[in-house]
Protein backbone atom coordinates (compact mmCIF):
# COMPACT_ATOMS: atom_id res chain seq x y z
CA UNK A 1 0.00 0.00 0.00
CA UNK A 2 1.37 3.34 -1.04
CA UNK A 3 1.61 5.76 1.84
CA UNK A 4 -0.64 8.50 0.49
CA UNK A 5 -1.47 11.72 2.26
CA UNK A 6 -4.46 11.36 4.56
CA UNK A 7 -7.67 13.05 3.52
CA UNK A 8 -8.46 13.92 7.10
CA UNK A 9 -6.00 13.83 9.94
CA UNK A 10 -7.06 14.48 13.51
CA UNK A 11 -4.35 15.07 16.08
CA UNK A 12 -4.87 15.13 19.84
CA UNK A 13 -8.33 16.65 19.56
CA UNK A 14 -9.76 17.90 22.85
CA UNK A 15 -13.15 19.50 23.31
CA UNK A 16 -14.72 20.97 26.44
CA UNK A 17 -18.03 22.73 27.01
CA UNK A 18 -17.24 25.08 29.87
CA UNK A 19 -15.66 22.87 32.54
CA UNK A 20 -16.98 19.65 31.09
CA UNK A 21 -14.40 17.84 29.03
CA UNK A 22 -16.18 15.79 26.38
CA UNK A 23 -13.31 14.69 24.15
CA UNK A 24 -10.02 13.82 25.83
CA UNK A 25 -7.53 13.95 23.02
CA UNK A 26 -8.15 11.62 20.12
CA UNK A 27 -6.03 11.12 17.02
CA UNK A 28 -6.74 9.26 13.83
CA UNK A 29 -6.29 9.46 10.09
CA UNK A 30 -8.67 8.70 7.29
CA UNK A 31 -7.29 8.03 3.83
CA UNK A 32 -9.21 9.32 0.81
CA UNK A 33 -12.22 7.43 -0.54
CA UNK A 34 -12.81 5.37 2.53
CA UNK A 35 -15.87 4.87 4.67
CA UNK A 36 -14.73 5.31 8.24
CA UNK A 37 -17.07 4.00 10.90
CA UNK A 38 -17.41 5.60 14.31
CA UNK A 39 -19.23 3.69 17.01
CA UNK A 40 -19.79 4.29 20.67
CA UNK A 41 -22.53 4.73 23.21
CA UNK A 42 -24.28 8.01 24.00
CA UNK A 43 -22.13 10.79 25.47
CA UNK A 44 -19.01 9.42 23.87
CA UNK A 45 -18.27 12.62 21.94
CA UNK A 46 -19.18 11.43 18.45
CA UNK A 47 -21.38 14.37 17.54
CA UNK A 48 -19.04 16.92 19.11
CA UNK A 49 -16.24 15.47 17.03
CA UNK A 50 -18.23 16.00 13.83
CA UNK A 51 -19.09 19.53 14.89
CA UNK A 52 -15.41 20.22 15.26
CA UNK A 53 -14.72 18.78 11.84
CA UNK A 54 -17.14 21.14 10.09
CA UNK A 55 -16.33 23.98 12.49
CA UNK A 56 -19.91 24.63 13.53
CA UNK A 57 -18.77 24.16 17.12
CA UNK A 58 -17.53 27.72 16.87
CA UNK A 59 -21.13 28.82 17.36
CA UNK A 60 -21.29 27.28 20.82
CA UNK A 61 -20.04 30.15 22.96
CA UNK A 62 -18.44 28.16 25.76
CA UNK A 63 -16.88 25.42 23.67
CA UNK A 64 -13.10 25.07 23.90
CA UNK A 65 -11.28 23.14 21.21
CA UNK A 66 -7.62 22.24 21.08
CA UNK A 67 -5.64 19.95 18.83
CA UNK A 68 -5.35 19.94 15.10
CA UNK A 69 -7.36 18.84 12.12
CA UNK A 70 -5.78 18.61 8.70
CA UNK A 71 -7.64 18.20 5.47
CA UNK A 72 -5.39 17.30 2.54
CA UNK A 73 -2.51 18.39 4.76
CA UNK A 74 -3.98 21.85 5.39
CA UNK A 75 -4.71 23.05 8.90
CA UNK A 76 -8.50 23.33 9.05
CA UNK A 77 -8.59 25.66 12.04
CA UNK A 78 -6.29 28.17 10.37
CA UNK A 79 -8.18 28.39 7.11
CA UNK A 80 -9.32 31.93 6.54
CA UNK A 81 -12.26 31.10 4.28
CA UNK A 82 -14.30 29.16 6.81
CA UNK A 83 -17.31 29.10 4.47
CA UNK A 84 -15.23 27.62 1.70
CA UNK A 85 -13.92 25.07 4.19
CA UNK A 86 -17.39 24.05 5.37
CA UNK A 87 -18.39 23.55 1.77
CA UNK A 88 -15.81 20.77 1.57
CA UNK A 89 -17.51 18.99 4.47
CA UNK A 90 -21.01 17.60 4.10
CA UNK A 91 -22.98 17.07 7.30
CA UNK A 92 -26.09 15.05 8.02
CA UNK A 93 -27.51 15.47 11.52
CA UNK A 94 -29.16 12.62 13.47
CA UNK A 95 -32.56 14.28 13.58
CA UNK A 96 -33.73 15.60 10.25
CA UNK A 97 -33.66 19.36 9.89
CA UNK A 98 -35.72 20.39 6.91
CA UNK A 99 -35.05 24.07 6.48
CA UNK A 100 -38.25 26.13 6.16
CA UNK A 101 -37.91 26.30 2.40
CA UNK A 102 -39.38 24.33 -0.46
CA UNK A 103 -37.90 20.94 -1.23
CA UNK A 104 -36.20 22.37 -4.28
CA UNK A 105 -34.81 25.35 -2.39
CA UNK A 106 -33.55 23.13 0.41
CA UNK A 107 -31.29 21.35 -2.03
CA UNK A 108 -30.53 24.39 -4.17
CA UNK A 109 -29.78 26.59 -1.16
CA UNK A 110 -26.08 25.84 -0.87
CA UNK A 111 -25.17 25.86 -4.59
CA UNK A 112 -27.16 29.07 -5.07
CA UNK A 113 -25.36 30.78 -2.26
CA UNK A 114 -22.05 29.94 -3.90
CA UNK A 115 -23.23 31.66 -7.02
CA UNK A 116 -24.77 28.93 -9.16
CA UNK A 117 -27.56 30.72 -10.97
CA UNK A 118 -28.13 28.78 -14.17
CA UNK A 119 -31.59 27.21 -13.93
CA UNK A 120 -30.81 24.08 -15.98
CA UNK A 121 -27.64 23.44 -14.03
CA UNK A 122 -29.49 23.83 -10.72
CA UNK A 123 -32.35 21.60 -11.88
CA UNK A 124 -29.93 18.88 -12.86
CA UNK A 125 -28.02 19.13 -9.59
CA UNK A 126 -31.18 19.05 -7.47
CA UNK A 127 -32.41 16.00 -9.32
CA UNK A 128 -29.07 14.23 -9.00
CA UNK A 129 -28.80 14.88 -5.28
CA UNK A 130 -32.38 13.83 -4.61
CA UNK A 131 -31.83 10.66 -6.63
CA UNK A 132 -28.71 9.86 -4.68
CA UNK A 133 -30.65 10.30 -1.45
CA UNK A 134 -33.35 7.93 -2.75
CA UNK A 135 -35.97 10.65 -2.48
CA UNK A 136 -36.47 11.83 -6.06
CA UNK A 137 -39.29 9.46 -6.98
CA UNK A 138 -41.31 10.46 -3.93
CA UNK A 139 -41.04 14.21 -4.32
CA UNK A 140 -40.45 14.91 -8.00
CA UNK A 141 -44.05 16.09 -8.45
CA UNK A 142 -44.04 18.45 -5.48
CA UNK A 143 -40.68 20.13 -5.40
CA UNK A 144 -42.47 23.38 -4.56
CA UNK A 145 -43.98 22.22 -1.27
CA UNK A 146 -42.30 22.95 2.03
CA UNK A 147 -39.48 20.66 3.03
CA UNK A 148 -40.69 20.73 6.61
CA UNK A 149 -43.99 19.11 5.56
CA UNK A 150 -42.28 15.88 4.57
CA UNK A 151 -42.34 12.89 6.88
CA UNK A 152 -39.41 12.36 9.22
CA UNK A 153 -37.72 9.77 7.04
CA UNK A 154 -38.21 11.85 3.91
CA UNK A 155 -36.81 14.90 5.65
CA UNK A 156 -33.76 12.92 6.65
CA UNK A 157 -33.17 11.94 3.05
CA UNK A 158 -33.69 15.57 2.11
CA UNK A 159 -30.87 16.53 4.45
CA UNK A 160 -28.68 13.91 2.82
CA UNK A 161 -29.51 15.36 -0.60
CA UNK A 162 -28.72 18.79 0.78
CA UNK A 163 -25.39 17.68 2.17
CA UNK A 164 -24.51 16.28 -1.25
CA UNK A 165 -25.58 19.46 -3.02
CA UNK A 166 -22.34 21.28 -2.38
CA UNK A 167 -20.33 18.28 -3.55
CA UNK A 168 -18.29 17.82 -0.40
CA UNK A 169 -14.98 16.01 -0.19
CA UNK A 170 -15.78 14.61 3.22
CA UNK A 171 -19.30 13.50 4.09
CA UNK A 172 -20.16 13.20 7.78
CA UNK A 173 -23.21 11.10 8.54
CA UNK A 174 -24.34 11.31 12.14
CA UNK A 175 -26.64 8.37 12.80
CA UNK A 176 -28.45 9.14 9.58
CA UNK A 177 -30.66 6.07 9.67
CA UNK A 178 -32.43 6.81 12.98
CA UNK A 179 -35.56 8.08 11.26
CA UNK A 180 -35.45 5.93 8.14
CA UNK A 181 -37.04 2.58 7.51
CA UNK A 182 -34.75 -0.41 6.82
CA UNK A 183 -35.53 -0.63 3.11
CA UNK A 184 -34.64 2.98 2.47
CA UNK A 185 -31.62 2.64 4.73
CA UNK A 186 -30.35 -0.15 2.52
CA UNK A 187 -30.91 2.00 -0.57
CA UNK A 188 -28.89 4.81 0.93
CA UNK A 189 -26.18 2.43 2.03
CA UNK A 190 -25.84 1.34 -1.59
CA UNK A 191 -25.54 4.98 -2.58
CA UNK A 192 -22.84 5.48 0.03
CA UNK A 193 -20.84 2.65 -1.48
CA UNK A 194 -21.00 4.47 -4.81
CA UNK A 195 -20.19 7.83 -3.28
CA UNK A 196 -17.04 6.37 -1.79
CA UNK A 197 -15.56 6.68 -5.28
CA UNK A 198 -15.74 10.46 -5.09
CA UNK A 199 -15.56 11.32 -1.41
CA UNK A 200 -14.45 10.27 2.04
CA UNK A 201 -17.24 9.31 4.38
CA UNK A 202 -17.34 9.40 8.17
CA UNK A 203 -20.18 7.22 9.33
CA UNK A 204 -21.20 7.72 12.93
CA UNK A 205 -23.69 5.04 13.76
CA UNK A 206 -25.46 3.35 16.60
CA UNK A 207 -26.14 0.33 14.46
CA UNK A 208 -22.95 -1.61 14.83
CA UNK A 209 -24.06 -3.84 11.99
CA UNK A 210 -24.22 -0.83 9.70
CA UNK A 211 -20.61 -0.01 10.44
CA UNK A 212 -19.77 -3.61 9.76
CA UNK A 213 -21.53 -3.55 6.39
CA UNK A 214 -20.04 -0.31 5.15
CA UNK A 215 -16.87 0.74 6.91
CA UNK A 216 -13.41 -0.38 6.01
CA UNK A 217 -12.07 0.71 9.33
CA UNK A 218 -13.92 1.56 12.51
CA UNK A 219 -13.17 3.61 15.57
CA UNK A 220 -14.71 2.95 18.96
CA UNK A 221 -15.20 5.98 21.20
CA UNK A 222 -16.13 5.75 24.87
CA UNK A 223 -16.63 8.76 27.13
CA UNK A 224 -14.62 10.99 24.85
CA UNK A 225 -11.68 8.64 24.59
CA UNK A 226 -10.56 6.56 21.68
CA UNK A 227 -10.71 2.96 22.86
CA UNK A 228 -9.67 1.28 19.70
CA UNK A 229 -9.36 1.88 16.01
CA UNK A 230 -8.77 -0.75 13.40
CA UNK A 231 -10.04 -2.81 10.52
CA UNK A 232 -13.75 -3.28 10.81
CA UNK A 233 -13.52 -7.00 10.39
CA UNK A 234 -11.18 -7.29 13.30
CA UNK A 235 -13.18 -4.92 15.46
CA UNK A 236 -16.33 -6.95 14.99
CA UNK A 237 -14.82 -10.38 15.02
CA UNK A 238 -14.91 -10.57 18.79
CA UNK A 239 -11.16 -10.66 18.61
CA UNK A 240 -10.47 -6.96 19.12
CA UNK A 241 -7.48 -5.77 21.09
CA UNK A 242 -9.50 -4.10 23.78
CA UNK A 243 -12.02 -6.21 25.68
CA UNK A 244 -14.40 -3.25 25.93
CA UNK A 245 -14.71 -3.20 22.16
CA UNK A 246 -15.72 -6.83 22.17
CA UNK A 247 -18.26 -6.15 24.87
CA UNK A 248 -19.74 -3.19 23.01
CA UNK A 249 -20.05 -4.83 19.60
CA UNK A 250 -21.58 -7.90 21.13
CA UNK A 251 -24.18 -5.76 22.84
CA UNK A 252 -23.05 -6.20 26.42
CA UNK A 253 -23.42 -2.46 27.06
CA UNK A 254 -24.10 0.80 25.25
Amino acid sequence: MVASIAKLKVEDLKVAYGDKQVIHGISYEIPPNEIFGVIGPAQSGKTSMLRVINRTIEFTPNAKVSGKIEIDGEDAFRMKDVYGYRRRIGMVAPLPVGLPLTIYDNVAFAPRSFGMKDKDQLDALVQKCLEQAALWDEVKDRLDSLGTKLSGGQQQRLTIARALSHQPEVLCLDEFSIAIDPVTTMKIEDVLKELRESMTIILVTNLVQQARRLAKRTMFLLNGELVEEGDTEKMFSGDADNPKTNEFVSGAFG
Binding site: R87, L99, P100, R162
Partner: protein, 370 residues
Amino acid sequence: MLHRSKGKVLREAIIEWLIRICGISAVVFVFAIFFFVFWEAKGQIFSGKVNINTATATALTKVEGIDNALADKIVAQRAQIDPKKRNTVNWLLEEKVIDLEQFFEIESQIKAKEFSFWKFLTTEKWYPASETNPRYGVFALIAGTVSVSILSMLIAVPFGLGSALFISEFCSPKLKETLKIVIELLAAIPSVVWGFIGLTIMNQLIMQIFGAPIGITVLNGAIILGLMSVPIIVSIGEDALQAVPDSYREAAIGLGVTRWQMVYKVLLPAAKNGLLAAVLLGIGRAIGETMAVLLATGHSVNNPFDGTFPFLHALESVKTLTATIAAEMGEAPRDSDHYQVLFIIGILLFTLTFIVNLSADLIVKGIRNK
Protein backbone atom coordinates in the same frame (compact mmCIF):
# COMPACT_ATOMS: atom_id res chain seq x y z
CA MET B 1 -55.45 0.91 46.69
CA LEU B 2 -54.27 4.44 46.88
CA HIS B 3 -56.82 7.20 47.13
CA ARG B 4 -56.30 10.88 46.76
CA SER B 5 -57.54 12.73 49.80
CA LYS B 6 -60.69 14.80 49.46
CA GLY B 7 -58.79 17.97 50.31
CA LYS B 8 -56.46 17.46 47.38
CA VAL B 9 -59.29 16.76 44.99
CA LEU B 10 -61.10 19.86 46.14
CA ARG B 11 -58.00 22.00 45.91
CA GLU B 12 -57.36 20.94 42.37
CA ALA B 13 -60.94 21.63 41.42
CA ILE B 14 -60.73 25.12 42.89
CA ILE B 15 -57.47 25.87 41.14
CA GLU B 16 -58.90 24.64 37.88
CA TRP B 17 -61.90 26.93 38.27
CA LEU B 18 -59.75 29.92 39.17
CA ILE B 19 -57.66 29.40 36.06
CA ARG B 20 -60.80 29.06 34.01
CA ILE B 21 -62.17 32.35 35.36
CA CYS B 22 -58.87 34.11 34.58
CA GLY B 23 -59.06 32.87 31.03
CA ILE B 24 -62.67 33.83 30.46
CA SER B 25 -62.31 37.21 32.18
CA ALA B 26 -60.37 38.57 29.22
CA VAL B 27 -63.36 37.95 26.98
CA VAL B 28 -65.71 39.47 29.52
CA PHE B 29 -63.58 42.59 29.87
CA VAL B 30 -63.36 43.15 26.14
CA PHE B 31 -67.11 42.86 25.75
CA ALA B 32 -67.79 45.02 28.77
CA ILE B 33 -65.53 47.80 27.50
CA PHE B 34 -66.98 47.54 24.03
CA PHE B 35 -70.49 47.73 25.44
CA PHE B 36 -69.63 50.67 27.67
CA VAL B 37 -68.07 52.70 24.86
CA PHE B 38 -71.04 51.99 22.61
CA TRP B 39 -73.49 52.83 25.36
CA GLU B 40 -71.93 56.23 25.94
CA ALA B 41 -71.95 56.99 22.23
CA LYS B 42 -75.38 55.61 21.42
CA GLY B 43 -77.21 58.95 21.50
CA GLN B 44 -75.25 60.22 18.56
CA ILE B 45 -75.08 57.05 16.57
CA PHE B 46 -78.83 56.54 16.57
CA SER B 47 -79.89 60.19 16.63
CA GLY B 48 -81.25 60.38 13.09
CA LYS B 49 -83.52 57.39 13.54
CA VAL B 50 -84.83 57.50 17.03
CA ASN B 51 -88.22 58.93 16.16
CA ILE B 52 -89.09 56.89 13.15
CA ASN B 53 -90.13 53.71 14.82
CA THR B 54 -91.51 54.85 18.12
CA ALA B 55 -93.34 58.10 17.69
CA THR B 56 -95.46 57.92 14.59
CA ALA B 57 -98.51 56.21 15.97
CA THR B 58 -98.49 57.65 19.48
CA ALA B 59 -97.82 61.20 18.34
CA LEU B 60 -100.86 61.26 16.12
CA THR B 61 -103.19 60.19 18.90
CA LYS B 62 -101.61 62.19 21.73
CA VAL B 63 -101.36 65.62 20.19
CA GLU B 64 -104.21 67.89 21.11
CA GLY B 65 -105.94 69.88 18.41
CA ILE B 66 -104.82 67.60 15.67
CA ASP B 67 -107.27 65.07 14.49
CA ASN B 68 -106.29 62.19 12.33
CA ALA B 69 -107.25 63.93 9.14
CA LEU B 70 -105.02 66.90 9.88
CA ALA B 71 -102.12 64.69 10.83
CA ASP B 72 -102.49 62.75 7.63
CA LYS B 73 -102.52 65.98 5.76
CA ILE B 74 -99.28 67.19 7.33
CA VAL B 75 -97.60 63.88 6.69
CA ALA B 76 -98.75 63.85 3.11
CA GLN B 77 -97.64 67.42 2.59
CA ARG B 78 -94.18 66.77 3.93
CA ALA B 79 -93.92 63.50 2.15
CA GLN B 80 -94.38 65.31 -1.15
CA ILE B 81 -91.40 67.53 -0.48
CA ASP B 82 -89.12 65.09 1.20
CA PRO B 83 -90.41 61.58 1.78
CA LYS B 84 -87.39 60.69 3.91
CA LYS B 85 -88.23 63.22 6.58
CA ARG B 86 -91.24 61.60 8.12
CA ASN B 87 -89.52 61.61 11.47
CA THR B 88 -89.28 65.39 11.38
CA VAL B 89 -93.01 65.55 10.89
CA ASN B 90 -93.56 63.35 13.88
CA TRP B 91 -91.43 65.60 15.96
CA LEU B 92 -93.41 68.60 14.74
CA LEU B 93 -96.62 66.90 15.68
CA GLU B 94 -95.39 66.29 19.18
CA GLU B 95 -94.39 69.90 19.54
CA LYS B 96 -97.74 70.93 18.11
CA VAL B 97 -96.15 73.06 15.41
CA ILE B 98 -98.28 73.36 12.38
CA ASP B 99 -97.03 76.62 11.00
CA LEU B 100 -95.15 75.58 7.91
CA GLU B 101 -92.65 78.41 7.93
CA GLN B 102 -91.71 77.66 11.51
CA PHE B 103 -91.66 74.04 10.53
CA PHE B 104 -89.02 74.61 7.87
CA GLU B 105 -86.84 76.58 10.19
CA ILE B 106 -86.98 74.02 12.96
CA GLU B 107 -86.41 71.28 10.46
CA SER B 108 -83.24 72.87 9.15
CA GLN B 109 -81.95 73.14 12.69
CA ILE B 110 -82.64 69.50 13.31
CA LYS B 111 -80.97 68.70 10.04
CA ALA B 112 -77.84 70.57 11.10
CA LYS B 113 -77.79 68.80 14.43
CA GLU B 114 -78.40 65.42 12.99
CA PHE B 115 -75.47 63.12 13.22
CA SER B 116 -74.34 61.60 9.97
CA PHE B 117 -71.69 58.97 10.34
CA TRP B 118 -70.50 59.49 6.80
CA LYS B 119 -70.11 63.22 7.38
CA PHE B 120 -68.39 62.50 10.66
CA LEU B 121 -65.81 60.36 8.93
CA THR B 122 -65.20 62.40 5.82
CA THR B 123 -65.19 66.06 6.83
CA GLU B 124 -62.25 67.89 8.29
CA LYS B 125 -64.14 70.46 10.35
CA TRP B 126 -63.60 69.71 14.03
CA TYR B 127 -65.29 72.50 16.01
CA PRO B 128 -66.70 70.74 19.03
CA ALA B 129 -66.70 73.84 21.25
CA SER B 130 -68.54 76.18 18.91
CA GLU B 131 -71.51 77.85 20.65
CA THR B 132 -73.60 78.40 17.56
CA ASN B 133 -72.63 75.66 15.17
CA PRO B 134 -70.53 72.81 16.57
CA ARG B 135 -69.27 70.43 13.89
CA TYR B 136 -67.67 67.08 14.34
CA GLY B 137 -65.53 65.94 11.42
CA VAL B 138 -62.72 63.58 12.31
CA PHE B 139 -61.06 63.10 8.96
CA ALA B 140 -58.15 65.35 9.90
CA LEU B 141 -57.77 63.51 13.19
CA ILE B 142 -57.70 60.15 11.42
CA ALA B 143 -55.17 61.58 8.99
CA GLY B 144 -53.13 62.76 11.98
CA THR B 145 -53.12 59.33 13.61
CA VAL B 146 -52.40 57.53 10.36
CA SER B 147 -49.59 59.87 9.32
CA VAL B 148 -47.81 59.68 12.66
CA SER B 149 -48.26 55.90 12.82
CA ILE B 150 -47.00 55.27 9.29
CA LEU B 151 -43.99 57.49 9.67
CA SER B 152 -43.12 56.08 13.08
CA MET B 153 -43.28 52.56 11.69
CA LEU B 154 -41.02 53.53 8.82
CA ILE B 155 -38.54 54.48 11.51
CA ALA B 156 -39.20 51.76 14.08
CA VAL B 157 -39.57 48.62 11.93
CA PRO B 158 -36.18 48.65 10.20
CA PHE B 159 -34.55 49.91 13.36
CA GLY B 160 -36.27 47.40 15.63
CA LEU B 161 -35.87 44.35 13.39
CA GLY B 162 -32.28 45.32 12.67
CA SER B 163 -31.37 45.48 16.32
CA ALA B 164 -33.31 42.29 17.07
CA LEU B 165 -31.25 40.54 14.41
CA PHE B 166 -28.02 42.01 15.69
CA ILE B 167 -28.74 41.06 19.30
CA SER B 168 -29.90 37.58 18.41
CA GLU B 169 -27.36 36.62 15.78
CA PHE B 170 -24.37 38.84 15.42
CA CYS B 171 -23.21 40.22 18.74
CA SER B 172 -21.10 38.67 21.48
CA PRO B 173 -22.88 37.15 24.49
CA LYS B 174 -21.62 39.91 26.77
CA LEU B 175 -22.81 42.73 24.54
CA LYS B 176 -26.08 40.88 24.11
CA GLU B 177 -26.82 40.96 27.84
CA THR B 178 -25.99 44.65 28.05
CA LEU B 179 -28.08 45.55 25.04
CA LYS B 180 -31.07 43.60 26.28
CA ILE B 181 -31.00 45.37 29.63
CA VAL B 182 -30.63 48.79 28.04
CA ILE B 183 -33.48 48.13 25.63
CA GLU B 184 -35.69 47.02 28.48
CA LEU B 185 -34.85 50.28 30.22
CA LEU B 186 -35.92 52.09 27.07
CA ALA B 187 -39.29 50.35 27.31
CA ALA B 188 -39.65 51.46 30.92
CA ILE B 189 -39.53 55.18 30.18
CA PRO B 190 -43.04 56.59 30.78
CA SER B 191 -44.76 57.95 27.71
CA VAL B 192 -45.19 61.40 29.23
CA VAL B 193 -41.42 61.63 29.54
CA TRP B 194 -41.13 60.76 25.87
CA GLY B 195 -43.62 63.48 25.12
CA PHE B 196 -41.58 65.89 27.17
CA ILE B 197 -38.47 65.01 25.19
CA GLY B 198 -40.45 65.61 22.01
CA LEU B 199 -41.69 68.94 23.25
CA THR B 200 -38.28 70.24 24.24
CA ILE B 201 -35.31 68.50 22.63
CA MET B 202 -36.81 67.18 19.41
CA ASN B 203 -38.68 70.43 18.93
CA GLN B 204 -35.43 72.41 18.96
CA LEU B 205 -33.64 69.88 16.78
CA ILE B 206 -36.30 69.87 14.11
CA MET B 207 -36.47 73.63 14.00
CA GLN B 208 -32.69 73.83 13.64
CA ILE B 209 -32.20 71.00 11.15
CA PHE B 210 -35.17 71.60 8.89
CA GLY B 211 -35.64 75.29 9.49
CA ALA B 212 -39.30 74.64 10.28
CA PRO B 213 -41.21 77.43 12.05
CA ILE B 214 -42.40 74.97 14.65
CA GLY B 215 -40.86 71.69 15.74
CA ILE B 216 -43.79 69.88 17.28
CA THR B 217 -44.90 68.14 14.10
CA VAL B 218 -45.76 64.81 12.50
CA LEU B 219 -42.05 64.10 12.22
CA ASN B 220 -41.44 64.84 15.88
CA GLY B 221 -44.31 62.60 17.00
CA ALA B 222 -43.20 59.87 14.60
CA ILE B 223 -39.64 59.86 15.88
CA ILE B 224 -40.79 59.77 19.48
CA LEU B 225 -43.34 57.04 18.76
CA GLY B 226 -40.78 55.15 16.72
CA LEU B 227 -38.33 55.16 19.60
CA MET B 228 -41.11 54.02 21.91
CA SER B 229 -42.06 51.13 19.63
CA VAL B 230 -38.49 49.95 19.08
CA PRO B 231 -38.14 48.15 22.44
CA ILE B 232 -41.35 46.18 21.80
CA ILE B 233 -40.28 45.21 18.31
CA VAL B 234 -36.79 44.33 19.51
CA SER B 235 -37.79 42.19 22.45
CA ILE B 236 -40.56 40.28 20.67
CA GLY B 237 -38.55 40.03 17.47
CA GLU B 238 -35.58 38.74 19.40
CA ASP B 239 -37.76 36.15 21.11
CA ALA B 240 -39.03 35.05 17.72
CA LEU B 241 -35.50 34.65 16.41
CA GLN B 242 -34.39 32.79 19.53
CA ALA B 243 -37.32 30.45 19.09
CA VAL B 244 -35.86 29.21 15.81
CA PRO B 245 -34.10 25.97 16.72
CA ASP B 246 -30.32 26.08 16.67
CA SER B 247 -30.37 23.01 14.49
CA TYR B 248 -31.58 25.25 11.64
CA ARG B 249 -28.63 27.53 12.10
CA GLU B 250 -26.17 24.70 12.28
CA ALA B 251 -27.69 22.92 9.31
CA ALA B 252 -27.47 26.04 7.19
CA ILE B 253 -24.00 27.03 8.38
CA GLY B 254 -22.87 23.44 7.88
CA LEU B 255 -23.72 23.83 4.21
CA GLY B 256 -20.99 26.44 3.98
CA VAL B 257 -23.15 29.50 3.53
CA THR B 258 -22.27 32.78 5.17
CA ARG B 259 -23.96 34.04 8.30
CA TRP B 260 -25.93 36.62 6.41
CA GLN B 261 -27.11 34.08 3.84
CA MET B 262 -28.22 31.87 6.72
CA VAL B 263 -30.07 34.75 8.37
CA TYR B 264 -31.69 35.93 5.18
CA LYS B 265 -32.70 32.61 3.68
CA VAL B 266 -33.36 30.44 6.71
CA LEU B 267 -33.79 32.44 9.88
CA LEU B 268 -36.09 35.17 8.62
CA PRO B 269 -38.48 32.77 6.87
CA ALA B 270 -38.53 30.55 9.95
CA ALA B 271 -39.23 33.44 12.32
CA LYS B 272 -41.53 35.43 10.06
CA ASN B 273 -44.68 34.88 12.12
CA GLY B 274 -43.06 36.12 15.29
CA LEU B 275 -41.41 39.02 13.52
CA LEU B 276 -44.74 40.00 12.00
CA ALA B 277 -46.34 39.88 15.42
CA ALA B 278 -43.57 42.14 16.71
CA VAL B 279 -44.20 44.67 13.97
CA LEU B 280 -47.96 44.61 14.48
CA LEU B 281 -47.66 45.09 18.22
CA GLY B 282 -45.44 48.05 17.43
CA ILE B 283 -48.13 49.44 15.15
CA GLY B 284 -50.71 48.83 17.86
CA ARG B 285 -48.63 50.84 20.27
CA ALA B 286 -48.21 53.62 17.72
CA ILE B 287 -51.95 53.90 17.08
CA GLY B 288 -52.92 53.69 20.72
CA GLU B 289 -50.23 55.89 22.23
CA THR B 290 -51.67 59.11 23.63
CA MET B 291 -49.52 61.17 25.94
CA ALA B 292 -46.37 61.35 23.88
CA VAL B 293 -48.18 62.32 20.68
CA LEU B 294 -50.32 64.80 22.51
CA LEU B 295 -47.17 66.65 23.51
CA ALA B 296 -45.06 66.05 20.43
CA THR B 297 -47.36 66.57 17.47
CA GLY B 298 -48.51 70.13 18.07
CA HIS B 299 -52.14 69.25 18.63
CA SER B 300 -53.68 71.29 15.86
CA VAL B 301 -56.39 69.95 13.58
CA ASN B 302 -54.71 69.55 10.25
CA ASN B 303 -54.57 67.02 7.44
CA PRO B 304 -50.91 66.44 6.57
CA PHE B 305 -51.75 64.48 3.43
CA ASP B 306 -52.41 66.22 0.17
CA GLY B 307 -52.01 65.53 -3.50
CA THR B 308 -48.76 67.43 -3.88
CA PHE B 309 -45.29 66.02 -3.43
CA PRO B 310 -44.18 64.56 -1.00
CA PHE B 311 -47.82 63.66 -0.21
CA LEU B 312 -47.15 63.42 3.51
CA HIS B 313 -46.05 66.74 4.91
CA ALA B 314 -44.12 65.69 7.95
CA LEU B 315 -43.28 69.18 9.11
CA GLU B 316 -46.87 70.15 9.85
CA SER B 317 -48.60 69.91 13.19
CA VAL B 318 -51.45 67.44 13.54
CA LYS B 319 -53.89 66.24 16.13
CA THR B 320 -54.47 62.54 16.63
CA LEU B 321 -57.57 60.64 17.65
CA THR B 322 -56.16 59.54 20.98
CA ALA B 323 -54.83 62.97 21.86
CA THR B 324 -58.23 64.47 21.06
CA ILE B 325 -59.97 62.20 23.51
CA ALA B 326 -57.38 62.82 26.20
CA ALA B 327 -57.40 66.57 25.80
CA GLU B 328 -61.14 67.15 25.38
CA MET B 329 -62.84 64.52 27.49
CA GLY B 330 -62.35 66.52 30.66
CA GLU B 331 -64.09 69.55 29.23
CA ALA B 332 -67.02 67.87 27.56
CA PRO B 333 -70.14 67.82 29.76
CA ARG B 334 -71.41 64.33 30.37
CA ASP B 335 -73.87 63.08 27.75
CA SER B 336 -73.44 66.18 25.63
CA ASP B 337 -73.00 65.76 21.90
CA HIS B 338 -69.30 66.43 22.25
CA TYR B 339 -68.97 63.78 24.95
CA GLN B 340 -70.74 61.22 22.85
CA VAL B 341 -68.73 62.05 19.76
CA LEU B 342 -65.53 61.50 21.74
CA PHE B 343 -66.81 58.04 22.55
CA ILE B 344 -67.46 57.44 18.87
CA ILE B 345 -63.81 58.30 18.32
CA GLY B 346 -63.10 55.62 20.90
CA ILE B 347 -65.06 53.15 18.82
CA LEU B 348 -63.12 54.28 15.79
CA LEU B 349 -59.83 53.56 17.54
CA PHE B 350 -61.20 50.22 18.62
CA THR B 351 -62.05 49.43 15.02
CA LEU B 352 -58.64 50.54 13.76
CA THR B 353 -56.75 48.31 16.18
CA PHE B 354 -59.19 45.50 15.49
CA ILE B 355 -58.47 45.78 11.77
CA VAL B 356 -54.73 45.74 12.45
CA ASN B 357 -55.02 42.65 14.64
CA LEU B 358 -57.39 40.88 12.30
CA SER B 359 -55.20 41.49 9.28
CA ALA B 360 -52.26 40.25 11.34
CA ASP B 361 -54.11 37.05 12.12
CA LEU B 362 -55.11 36.58 8.51
CA ILE B 363 -51.59 37.22 7.26
CA VAL B 364 -50.08 34.83 9.78
CA LYS B 365 -52.65 32.17 8.87
CA GLY B 366 -52.01 32.77 5.21
CA ILE B 367 -48.31 32.25 5.72
CA ARG B 368 -48.89 29.13 7.76
CA ASN B 369 -51.16 27.52 5.20
CA LYS B 370 -48.86 28.21 2.30
